[in-house]
C-alpha cells in the first residue's frame, strides 16, 4: 500500500480531517508539511503547536503528530509565549483563524510582534467566523453580507500584515492557498528564523461564503488569486487604486534579535 508522504506528520487516526470539503486548510497543511520535509524534519518532536478556538485551531490539534496545546479563544499567542520562554529549545508555532488571531486575540498579536517574540504565527484568513456560522470578522471586506451583517458590512477590514509589520517582527507574509509554491517557500523561510514571524493565508470558507456567493471551492480560490496583487507591484500605486485587491507577498524579512536573544544580551 502506498501511503501519503506526509502521513509521518499526522496522527493517522485523525484522517480524514474534520474540515469541510473544499476547505483550503488541506492545501495549507500540505504546504506546511512540504516545508518541514524540505527542511529535513523527519518528525515534529522539536515543535510545540499552540492554538486557540476556531476551525484553524483544529489544524494542529489533534491532527499533528506533535505536542499540541489547544487553548482559549484568542489566547494561543500568550500561551505560546509562556512555552517559548521556558523551553527556548523548542520551535513554537501558533495556528489560528482571523477571528482568533486578529479579532479577540489582536492585542496579543500586536505585542508579540513588538516584543519580537520567537514564535511563528500562521493566521488562516477566511474573512468570517466560520465555525460559529459565518458572522462578520475584523477581516471581512467592506459591504460583504454575512449572518451578522445581513445588509452589508459597514466596517473596514484590518490589513493584519501591515499592522504586524509596523508593530515589529522579523518576517511577515501573505499568500492565498492558491499560491502554493510561494506559501511553501514562506514556511521554509519562516520556520528556522528567530524572532516573531507572521504568515497570513487567505482561503475561502466554502461552507459559509463560497456556497452563498455561488462559487465552488475551486472557483473561489481562483477568485482569490485573481483579486491578489503582489506587494512588489504596488510600489508607486495609490492605496485607493489597489482598491479591493489582496496585497500578497513577503512584507518583511529581517533578522533583528528575537526576545530570547535580547534576554541573553541583557545577561538574563
Amino acid at each position: 500500500m502506498i501511503s501519503h508522504p506526509y502521513l509521518k506528520y499526522l496522527r493517522s487516526e485523525t484522517v480524514p480531517t474534520v474540515f469541510c470539503p473544499g476547505c483550503g486548510i488541506g492545501i495549507l497543511m500540505k504546504a506546511f508539511f512540504e516545508a518541514l520535509d524540505k527542511l529535513e524534519y523527519s518528525d515534529m518532536r522539536e515543535f510545540v503547536f499552540v492554538s486557540g478556538i476556531g476551525c484553524s485551531a483544529w489544524i494542529p490539534s489533534p491532527h499533528f503528530k506533535a505536542d499540541t496545546i489547544h487553548t482559549l479563544h484568542g489566547r494561543a499567542i500568550p500561551v505560546a509565549t509562556g512555552v517559548k520562554l521556558v523551553r527556548p529549545d523548542l520551535n513554537v508555532v501558533v495556528f489560528g483563524g482571523d477571528g482568533d488571531i486578529a479579532g479577540i486575540g489582536g492585542n496579543h498579536l500586536l505585542h508579540a510582534a513588538r516584543r519580537n517574540m520567537d514564535i511563528l504565527v500562521i493566521m488562516v484568513n477566511n474573512e468570517v467566523y466560520g465555525m460559529t456560522g459565518g458572522q462578520v470578522a475584523p477581516t471581512t471586506p467592506l459591504g460583504m453580507k454575512t449572518t451578522t451583517t445581513p445588509y452589508g458590512n459597514p466596517e473596514h477590514p484590518l490589513d493584519t500584515c501591515s499592522v504586524v509589520a509596523s508593530a515589529g517582527g522579523n518576517y511577515v507574509a501573505r499568500w492565498t492557498v492558491g499560491h502554493y509554491d510561494q506559501l511553501v517557500k514562506s514556511f521554509i523561510e519562516a520556520i528556522p528564523k528567530n524572532g516573531f514571524r507572521f504568515i497570513e493565508v487567505l482561503t475561502p470558507c466554502t461552507s459559509r461564503v463560497s456556497s452563498r456567493i455561488g462559487l465552488s471551492p475551486a472557483q473561489h480560490i481562483k477568485q482569490l488569486i485573481k483579486d491578489s496583487i503582489l506587494i512588489d507591484k504596488t510600489e508607486g500605486i495609490k492605496l485607493e487604486e489597489i482598491g479591493k485587491k489582496y496585497v500578497i507577498g513577503v512584507f518583511k524579512n529581517v533578522d533583528n534579535p528575537g526576545y530570547i536573544e535580547m534576554l541573553r544580551r541583557l545577561g538574563r
Partner: protein, 374 residues
C-alpha cells in the same frame, strides 16, 4: 532548624515564599496594590535563573503562566480585583488542563475601580466561583506576613501535588503590612511528577492522585485541550460519559485531599459561648477582641480559616456546634457568612465594614458582642 529574621511586607513575603518554593516564571500586569510584588519578582527572579515578563494585560499574563507551566515552570502571577476578573477564563483553562500555577490576589475595594489603594475582602466569592462551568480550585488566605510566606509555599506545593491552579487571597492590609518574621530555612518543597513515557496524562485510576505531567519535546505527542477530553487528551465534545468522568475526577482530586488542604487556627476558650470566624487581616483585630473579652469574663474564641476553598464543613460545624453564637466579621457585605450560616443557621451574626480600607477595630467587635450577647 535554622531561622533567619527578616523585615518584610506581606507582598514581599509572598514573593519570597514563591521563590523558596521554586517559582521560576512570573508574568503579570501592574495593578495596585500588587505591583510591588511584581517589581520584587522582576528584580529577584532573573538573578535566580527564572524568567520574568510583564504581559500586555492580565489575560496575556495568566495564559503565559499556562504555557510556562505546561513547559515545565513553577509559575506565578499577582494581581488585584479587576485583573483577577480578567484572569478568570484563563484560570478555568488551567483547571481543565490541570496546569499547576499560583495566582496571588491582593484584594482592594470594588466593584469596578472602586477604591484602588484601599483594602477589602470582596473577592472571596470570585476566587471560588469566578470561572464558568463546574470547576474547583484551592484558595488560601494569609492573615500575617509570615502566613503570606508560608501559605504561598503551600500554594505551590498544593498546585504541584494536585496539578491545579491555586489562589492566594491576600488583602491590601496584609500585602502592605511590614512585620519582622522568622523565616525557617528547611522548607518542604513538592516537585512535579513528570513522565517521559507515553500514557494517559488526563486520567488516573485513583482520582485523588493526579496523573503525571508529560514532558514536552520528547516525542510523546502530547494533546492538551480545554475542550472535554479523554485520558489521552483527545477532544470528546459530544460524549456525556467523557465529560462526566473528567469533571468529576478533577473535583475528586481536590475534595479527596480535603484533609490536607483545609487548614485553620483556633485561639481562645475551649468551649466558647461566642465564636468568631474570620479570614485574612480581619483575624488580627478579632484576636485582640477575643483576648479583651476573655479578660472581661466572657468565654470567646476565634476560628481563623487559612483555607477558604474548599471548606471542610464537618470541621466548621464541629466548632460552630460548641458555641452559643457565632459572629463573622468581614471587610465586605457578607461572603464567608454563607458557609457559616449553612452549618450554624440563626445563631450566626454578621459584622460587615466596607470603605476607605478602614479595618474593623477590636473595640467595635467588643462593643458588638456586649450588644448581642447578654
Amino acid at each position: 532548624m535554622i531561622i533567619i529574621r527578616r523585615f518584610w511586607t506581606g507582598n514581599i513575603a509572598s514573593a519570597e515564599g514563591a521563590l523558596r518554593a521554586g517559582c521560576n516564571f512570573y508574568a503579570g500586569y501592574p495593578i495596585t496594590p500588587s505591583s510591588d510584588l511584581m517589581e520584587y519578582m522582576a528584580r529577584e527572579l532573573p538573578k535566580r535563573g527564572g524568567v520574568f515578563i510583564q504581559g500586555e494585560d492580565e489575560i496575556a499574563s495568566i495564559n503565559m503562566l499556562i504555557g510556562a507551566s505546561i513547559a515545565g515552570a513553577k509559575a506565578m502571577t499577582a494581581t488585584s480585583g479587576p485583573g483577577f476578573s480578567l484572569m478568570q477564563e484563563g484560570i478555568g483553562l488551567a483547571v481543565m488542563l490541570e496546569a499547576p500555577l499560583v495566582i496571588v490576589d491582593v484584594m482592594r475595594l470594588g466593584p469596578a475601580t472602586g477604591q484602588a489603594t484601599k483594602s477589602g475582602q470582596g473577592d472571596l466569592m470570585q476566587s471560588r466561583w469566578g470561572r464558568h462551568g463546574d470547576q474547583v480550585l484551592v484558595v488560601y488566605a494569609p492573615s500575617s506576613v509570615k502566613e503570606a510566606f508560608l501559605l504561598t509555599i503551600k500554594a505551590f506545593n498544593t498546585a504541584e501535588s494536585l496539578r491545579t491552579p491555586v489562589v492566594v487571597l491576600l488583602d491590601e492590609l496584609i500585602g502592605h503590612l511590614w512585620e519582622v518574621i522568622d523565616v525557617p530555612e528547611d522548607i518542604e518543597v513538592v516537585e512535579r511528577v513528570w513522565s517521559s513515557e507515553p500514557g494517559a496524562f488526563f486520567d488516573s485510576e485513583v482520582p485523588e492522585n493526579p496523573p503525571p505531567m508529560p514532558k514536552l519535546g520528547v516525542g510523546l505527542n502530547v494533546l492538551y485541550t480545554g475542550s472535554t477530553h479523554d485520558g489521552y487528551g483527545f477532544r470528546k465534545t459530544q460524549d456525556p460519559d467523557a465529560h462526566n468522568k473528567l469533571v468529576r475526577r478533577i473535583h475528586r482530586k481536590i475534595y479527596g485531599n480535603l484533609d490536607r488542604i483545609f487548614i485553620y487556627d483556633y485561639h481562645g476558650e475551649d468551649a466558647p459561648d461566642i465564636l468568631f470566624i474570620t479570614f485574612g487581616s480581619v483575624s488580627r483585630p478579632t484576636t485582640e477582641a477575643v483576648d479583651i473579652l476573655n479578660s472581661d469574663g466572657y468565654r470567646v474564641g476565634i476560628l481563623k480559616l487559612m483555607t477558604l476553598w474548599p471548606i471542610d464543613y464537618t470541621v466548621l460545624k464541629s466548632f460552630v456546634d460548641k458555641s452559643q453564637i457565632v459572629i463573622v466579621p468581614e471587610m465586605n457585605l457578607g461572603q464567608l457568612i454563607h458557609d457559616v450560616k449553612m452549618v450554624g443557621g440563626d445563631k450566626v451574626y454578621r459584622f460587615n465594614k466596607i470603605g476607605g480600607g478602614i479595618p474593623i477595630y477590636s473595640s467595635e467587635l467588643v462593643g458588638y458582642v456586649k450588644e448581642v450577647y447578654k
